[in-house]
Symmetry: C2
Subunit: 158 residues, 2 copies
């Protein structure tokens, strides 16, 4: 992962929180993943493919997921239900979609989001791809963004 | 999900088991998912994108995952380690890659695989996409294939 590949995802996440949620996401530390354990209870996962391939994970605590959904849906969400999971998937979609627009040289498109829940679920990237994990702080609580991206050796037919 | 979209994934899974693993995967029942709970302990997840977008999940019991990895790596795997998870990701990659070749009108490419583990992890698709779950039986044990795919309303730039 090169820094110029990470920055579009970081700015997209900050922008998504600012514009969709009117919430400031402050960037914290950046780490290489040493454990596969998801940082938080709810993870929105989205695939990117094109001339680079990758996976983006937006991992939220229950509290942050509920706040995100309540704000996006303009209706109080008090439990993790399908609406909340859709909101988390949509957030991952917006972050990945905006970031890939900034990485247009890779002609990437995004997959359908899937949302993983479960205490202690683990999301493993292929062992030759070391995803970068960026921690963010919001007034609602913490969240993390994980990005693993690899250029495709040969151009694929799009 | 239309049947003609499912069949390429079913045949790709059967072929992958036959050719890569010399193991017959017999198709069992096909169900619409009513629970989000993953069918088995290890799930290989891969995104597809292009003129259709989707997610493919290949979910294996620990026993089947170990047998898949042992056969692919030609070395006995006795615990769920990075090599086993890579093998499961590669299996998902082969299944999705072969299927998308049969769905060439959608010009899809595949994302990086990610592999989810954890007792009782749940993989949620967006609520407007009802994934189809196909059960398979092998001499190693059971596995499932889940596919959620949706055509993109307007052609996207590739």
């Amino acid at each position: 992962m090169r820094a110029e590949h990470i920055n579009p995802f970081v700015s997209s996440l900050k922008n998504a929180f600012q514009t969709m949620l009117a919430c400031e996401a402050r960037r914290g530390e950046l780490t290489l993943k040493t454990s596969h354990r998801a940082e938080h209870f709810v993870s929105g996962v989205i695939g990117l493919s094109g001339l680079a391939v990758g996976t983006v994970v937006v991992s939220l605590s229950k509290e942050v997921a509920l706040k995100v959904a309540s704000t996006m849906l303009d209706a109080e969400a008090s439990e993790i239900n399908d609406d909340v999971l859709d909101a988390v998937g949509e957030l991952a979609n917006v972050v990945a979609g905006a970031a890939k627009s900034q990485l247009e040289e890779y002609h990437m498109t995004v997959s359908l989001p899937s949302v993983i829940t479960g205490e202690g679920h683990e999301i493993h990237f292929p062992s030759n791809v070391r995803p970068i994990c960026i921690h963010f702080h919001t007034d609602w609580g913490p969240l993390t963004l994980e990005v693993g991206l690899a250029a495709v050796p040969e151009p694929v037919e799009a």
